[in-house]
Symmetry: C2
Subunit: 106 residues, 2 copies
């Protein structure tokens, strides 16, 4: 499939929104859209890798024991069992391309 | 790991250049950098999914029977066994974030 990621931006005033681009037997790719103040709390995945590429804005990422601001062009990779999360301190919106393998939905 | 993708741009006058961001047991993520006129010829991967996110420039992507120009913000997913390739018609450079799962190198 071929698409433009910007066509999949979707924001929700209640909580950060995930917009799926693709799911295969090997991975999923989502667009995560965060209004200012929204977050994905720190969590882990056994046996899976998740990556975030920051398309727009700046996120405050948790990765293991670290917290770091990551802006557009930044890349974060959480390996199996590694604690990870992200919040949008604002004032702008935050958009990430988020990929996880293997795909827990398949 | 956390990094800025732009720090990994590497161009090679001879052929398109791959710059690895991360490898885990589940996936690899590379930055592919194409000078004008360079290409990754169409090919397939059995049992693996590859995605391309276009960071800069415009690529002419082959995906199965289709050919399509895809510019910055565009996303291409080739599923298992699906023919895929990309060329940079120029005149500018082309940069993609490229992810493949599972990781054939692990």
């Amino acid at each position: 499939m071929i698409t433009d990621v910007r066509q999949h931006y979707r924001f929700d005033g209640e909580k950060f929104a995930r917009s799926n681009l693709v799911e295969t037997g090997q991975l999923f790719a989502d667009v995560y859209c965060f209004e200012a103040g929204q977050s994905q709390p720190p969590h882990t995945h056994d046996g899976a890798t998740k990556i975030y590429y920051v398309i727009e804005g700046t996120g405050l990422f948790t990765l293991g024991p670290d917290e770091r601001h990551v802006s557009a062009g930044g890349f974060v990779c959480a390996g199996p069992g590694q604690v990870h999360g992200v919040s949008n301190p604002g004032p702008g919106r935050l958009v990430t391309l988020t990929v996880m393998a293997p795909n827990p939905n398949k």
